[in-house]
Symmetry: D2
Subunit: 348 residues, 4 copies
C-alpha cells in the first residue's frame, strides 16, 4: 500500500507538534510537508526535541501553491483567521483539508462575524465544510473536501450533552458548563500570563463572557435538540499542561434516574471506540485520557436539587485537536477510524 | 502587655502548622501549648522544618485536663468528630475555644447527624457555638466561649452570595456553585490519591453528591436570605497546594447590571479589611491571595443568558482556616481584628 | 503467529501499570496474568482508570505455583526483597523472568548483603542472572532465563559514562553524579513526603549517603573500565511525576575536545535505536523523552576547569523500568528489539 | 520616627514586586517612588493583583533626575546593563542605592567585560560598590553609597562554602556546584521556554558553560580563601516558581568529620539571624524557606569517596534578591538588620 502524503501547516505549535507525534506512527500516512514561518529552513526537532524520532523533517515556509505537489491531505494547524485565507487555495489545487482552526466551524457567516469580529473571507465554503465530530457527523465526513475540526471545549461538551438533548432527556434551557483546561490550549506563543511562575498555584477563570467556542457549541447542540439552545459557558485555566474537564449542569426531563441517563449514553456510544461512559460512582480525571484520543464521561444525579451532572474529560491536544483530526482523516481516506490512534493514556 | 497564652491542638497538620506560622508572629499571642499525637515528645520543626524560626516548640500528647494550666484560648485543629469529644472538657476548665473542625458549625443536632452520619456528642453546645464568619457574625463572636470556624469552601461562597441574598438581589433557587481547591484542603495524611504523581496533570471532581460543607452553606445562606436555601455544590481537586476558587452561578432579581451588583457588594464590604470586590473586567486568581487572609471577589453578568457570575477566591489555609481563626481570636480577646494578619500574599 | 503469554506481578504499582500500558499494544505479547495483592478480585482499571482500554484484566492474588499454567514470560514488578522469594519458584516451573526489582542486579551475594542489609535468599541465581542493559549485555540476554532489569538511575548513568570508561577516555576516579528524579520513582505507596502539597515548590536531595543504586552502578562501571570504580552519587526529588536527569562530572583523559567525546559516544551508539547523542549546544530535558524508551545524552566540556559534563535523561518508568524490560523481553524471545517500543515522547 | 522614603525602579518584575511586598510592611520604610516603563501611568496592582493591599502605588516612567526629590534610598531592580547607566545619576543626586542587578558586583572592570561582553559604563564605581552579602561584608555595608546585592546562586553558594575556605577546611581546587532554581529567577518576561507547558515535567540544565554568576562567586570565594578559586558551576531549571538548592561537592582537608564541619559552620553563623545549619541527618528543601529570608544548609560526608557535601537552599526572590536587599537597607540606615524580614516561610 502506498502511504497517503500529508501536510501539516503550522507544525511548530502544540497542535502541529501533536499531529506530527501521531502521524509519524500512522501506518497509512507519510508526513510529506511541514511548514512553520518561524522555523523555516530548520529541522522540526529544533522546535520539538521530543520529535527527533519522527525523522529529519525540514520546516518550510508556507507556499500554498505547492500544496498539491507536496501532499494529498493537508492538516491546517494555523491560527484562527489565518486559515481561511489559505484554505481556499489548498482546495483549489485539489487537496483535501482538515482545518484545526475555528475558521470553518460555523455554518453561518453572520454568526461568524458576530463572534469573531471580522468578515469571513470564504463564506461560500462555510456551507460546504463539515463539522468534524465523527461521533455526530461521521456519515458526511467521508466525502468531505473540507473538515472543520471541532474546538477542544466543544468536543468535551457535545459528546456529553448532545445525545441527551437529542433524546429529549434534559431541559433545553438553563444549561451551565464550567470547564477547566490545561494551558497548552492557549498555544505555544510566549505570553506572560502563561509562564509557569504565573500559573503554578494560580488557578483562575478567563474570558467568562463571550468565549468564542460558545458559538459552535450552540450551533451543534441546536442540531442535536432540533431547536435553538443557549448555554452558560465558563472556561478556567489549570496549572497543568494538558487536559480538559467540563462540569455540565443540566435539568433532566421527567422522572429520570442517573442509571437511566448512563444507560442512554452508554447505548448511544456502544459502538464508539473513543467514548466511554463511566460506571456508577466513578468520575473522570484528566490524567485518565492524557495523550490518548478518549473521552471519558461520568454521570451523577443530585436528587436533592434536581440537577443532573455530567463530567467529561478529554486531552485537549488529542481528542480536542490532533487526534480527532486524524480520526477525520481516517474517515476521509477510507481507513479504519481508529488507525494510528491506539495510544494508551500516559499515567502518571 | 502580657501576651495571651494560646494552645494549638493538632499542630502537625496543615491547618495546625498554619496557625503556628501566623500566631508565632502575632503581637498579642504566645504559643504556650502545641499537641500532636504523632510527634509527641519531639520538636515541632521535625514535622515542619519551615517553622524552625517559631522557636523550639515541643509537641505534647493531648491531655485535655491540662488545658487551663497551659493557656487561655485553644485553637482546635483536630479532625472532625474528634473535636467534639475534647472541646467540652476545654470549656469546662474555662478555656475559650476556636474550633477549626466542622463539629460545631451546624446549629441543629439532627442536621449534623444527617450529614455526618453520627450522633453529636455535645448537642447542648451547638446552640451556644457561634459560626465564626466575622463579616457576618462579628457582633456575637466577641463574647463567645466557643467559635466554630467556618469551612474553607463555605467561606469563599458565603462572602460572595450572602449579601446578595440578604439584599434580595438574586433568586434564592437554582444556585450552582462549582468550586476548585488546592490539595492541602485534603489534609496531610498520606493518601494515594493525593500523591504528586497522581494529581499532577490530573484534575478531577470529587464527592460531587453530598459534600458535607453543603450543610453549613445552606444554614448560613438561609440566615442571610431569611428563608431556606438549597444549593448545587461541586468540589474539584486542583494540582496545586493552596487556594480555593468558587465559581457561583445565580440569577439576578429584576433588572440589575453587573455594576449595581458590584456596588452592592463593595458597599457591603467597604469597612471590611479582608474582602475586596474587584473592579470591572478583573477576575481573581488563587495566587492573588496566597498566604494571606484576603477574599477577592469578581463579578460578571452574562446578559445573553441572564446568569450572574461570582468568582470568589481565598487561601484555604488562611481565610479558609487559620487566618480566619485568628481573626476570631482577635475579636474574642478585644484585639484589633487585623492584628497578626497583615501578611501580603506571596506571588509568584 | 501465536502471541507469547506474559504475566505481570505487582501490576498496580507505577511500574506494573507501565508494563500493562506498553504490553497491551505489543504485537507479540498477550497479557495473560496480572497479580496484585491489594486489588485481587477486581479489574485492573479500578487501580488504573487510564488502562481501561487494555481490556478487562482481572487482578489475581499471586500464586507462584500457577505461573507456568498462566504464562511463558513473567515480568516481576514487586518490591525489592519480595522478588527473590518468588522468582526461584517461577524459574523452577520453566518460566523465564524479567525482574524489575533490585534483587538480582548484583552478582556478588556479599555485596548485596552489604548494601541491602539482608542475606540474599537465592544467591545461586545471582551468577546466572543477566544485567539487562541491552546496549551493554545484549549478547547474553537472548538466552537468559533470568534478566535483572537495571535501576532507573543506573540506566541513565551507565549509558553516558560506560563507553567513556571503556574507551579509557575519562579518569576512573573522582566521578560525581548529581541525579534528579520525578516522584513516580518512589512508587505508588502513600507516603506523606510524596504528597503534592509537600513536594510542589519543595525540591530536595534525599538518601545522599549510600543510595543502593550505587552498588549496581559501580559493578557495571567496573565492567566497562576493567578496574574498580567508585562514584559519588546524589539523588534529588523533582516536583514532577516522571523523568530522570543525571548530571555527570568527570575528568577527560588527555587532550580531548567536547566534539571528540560526542563522536565517541555517537559512534558507540550509532546502531542503537534508543540512545541519542545530542548535537553541540543542545542539552536534554526530561520532557524530551517522556513516555518513550529513549535516552538523550548531551555533552559539554568546561575548558576553564577541565571538567567534562554529561547530561543524560530517560523516562524512569520506560527506559528506566518497563520499556527496558520489554526491550529485554524482545531479545529473550527473538523479537525485533524495538517491537512495542515505538511510542513517540509526549510533549507538552 | 519619620519613615525613610524609598524608590523601587523596575517594580513590575518579580524582584521589584517582591521588594514592594516586603517594604510595604517595613516599619521604617515608605514606598515613595515606583517605576515601570511598561505600566507607567497605571496602578501597580494592574501588574500585581496580589499587591493590592500595598496601597494604590502609581507606576511612573523612570526619570533619574527626580530621584532625590522622590526618595532617599533607591532599590534598583532593573535588568543587567541598564542599571549601570542610571545609577551614577542617582548617586550624583545624593541617593543611596541598593542595586539588585549584576552591574556592580565585580570589582574589576576587565573581569566584568570578560563575562558580560560589554565595556562597563561606570568603572570608577566598581571599586566603591560594596558586595552586599551582610554575613560577609556587614562592616562596610553600613556606610556604603552603593551596595551591589549578590546574585541568587552566589548567595546560596557563598554562605555554604565561604567559611570553609576561610577556615582552610576544604581543598580550594576541584569544587563542583550543581544548582537548581525555580523559574522566577529567569524573570517575568514572556519567553517560550518558561511557559508552564514547556517546563512542567521538563527539568533541564541550561547555560552549563560560562554562567555569569561564576564570576562573582569566584571573586568572593577568593576573598574568603585568600587565593584564587575556580569552580565548576551548573545551573538547572526546576518546574517550580521559587527556590534555589545548590548541591556543593568539595574535598575536606585533613581528617574532618561531618560533625566538625557542621560545628564550624554553626559556630560561624551562631549570631546570624538568617543562616541555619541543619542538624545531622537533615537536608533542606526549597519549601522550608519559601517566602522568607533564611538560608538553610545541610552537611553530609561521604566517607567512602571522601567527598564532603553541602546542600544550601534559599528563596531566590528573598534571600537571593529582595530580602537581602532589605537586609542591606537596614544596615545602611542603621535599622535592626532583621527589620521587616521576620516573615515565616510559607508551607505548603
Amino acid at each position: 500500500m502506498e502511504k497517503i502524503a500529508v501536510g501539516i501547516l503550522g507544525a511548530t505549535g502544540y497542535t502541529g507538534g501533536e499531529l506530527v507525534r501521531l502521524l509519524a506512527r500512522h501506518p497509512a500516512a507519510r508526513i510529506a510537508w511541514v511548514t512553520s514561518e518561524r522555523y523555516a529552513g530548520r529541522p522540526l526537532s529544533d522546535a520539538f526535541p521530543h520529535l527527533r524520532s519522527a525523522g529529519d523533517l525540514p520546516c518550510q515556509k508556507l507556499e500554498p501553491a505547492r500544496a498539491a505537489v507536496e501532499c494529498q491531505v493537508v492538516f491546517c494547524a494555523m491560527p484562527h483567521l489565518t486559515s481561511m485565507a489559505v484554505i481556499p487555495q489548498l482546495l483549489a489545487q485539489g487537496c483535501r483539508v482538515v482545518d484545526l482552526s475555528a475558521d470553518f466551524r460555523l455554518r453561518d457567516a453572520r454568526v461568524f462575524q458576530e463572534w469573531y469580529g471580522v468578515e469571513h473571507k470564504a463564506p461560500e465554503l462555510l456551507r460546504e465544510a463539515v463539522y468534524g465530530l465523527p461521533e455526530r457527523h461521521r456519515a458526511v465526513i467521508d466525502k468531505a473536501r473540507l473538515v472543520a475540526n471541532p474546538g477542544c471545549y466543544p468536543t468535551s461538551v457535545l459528546l456529553a450533552l448532545g445525545p441527551l438533548l437529542e433524546a429529549d432527556a434534559i431541559e433545553p434551557g438553563g444549561i451551565v458548563i464550567d470547564s477547566k483546561s490545561g494551558v497548552s490550549g492557549a498555544g505555544r506563543s510566549a505570553q506572560q500570563g502563561n509562564l509557569l511562575a504565573e500559573l503554578n498555584e494560580g488557578f483562575r477563570a478567563y474570558k467568562v463572557i463571550g468565549h468564542r467556542h460558545i458559538a459552535e457549541m450552540e450551533q451543534e447542540l441546536a442540531g442535536y435538540a432540533g431547536r435553538p439552545i443557549q448555554i452558560r459557558f465558563t472556561p478556567h485555566l489549570l496549572p497543568q499542561s494538558r487536559g480538559i474537564l467540563s462540569s455540565c449542569y443540566v435539568r433532566p426531563r421527567g422522572e429520570r434516574s442517573a442509571a437511566s441517563i448512563r444507560e442512554l449514553l452508554a447505548w448511544r456510544y456502544e459502538q464508539e471506540p473513543f467514548v466511554r461512559i463511566l460506571p456508577e460512582g466513578e468520575l473522570p480525571a484528566t490524567s485518565d485520557v492524557r495523550g490518548a484520543n478518549f473521552c471519558h464521561i461520568g454521570v451523577a444525579l443530585d436528587k436533592r436539587t434536581g440537577w443532573l451532572l455530567l463530567f467529561s474529560t478529554i486531552d485537549n491536544l488529542v481528542k480536542g485537536a490532533a487526534g480527532q483530526a486524524i480520526q477525520n482523516f481516517n474517515l476521509m481516506t477510507g481507513r479504519p477510524e481508529t488507525e494510528g490512534l491506539d495510544q494508551m493514556p500516559l499515567f502518571p
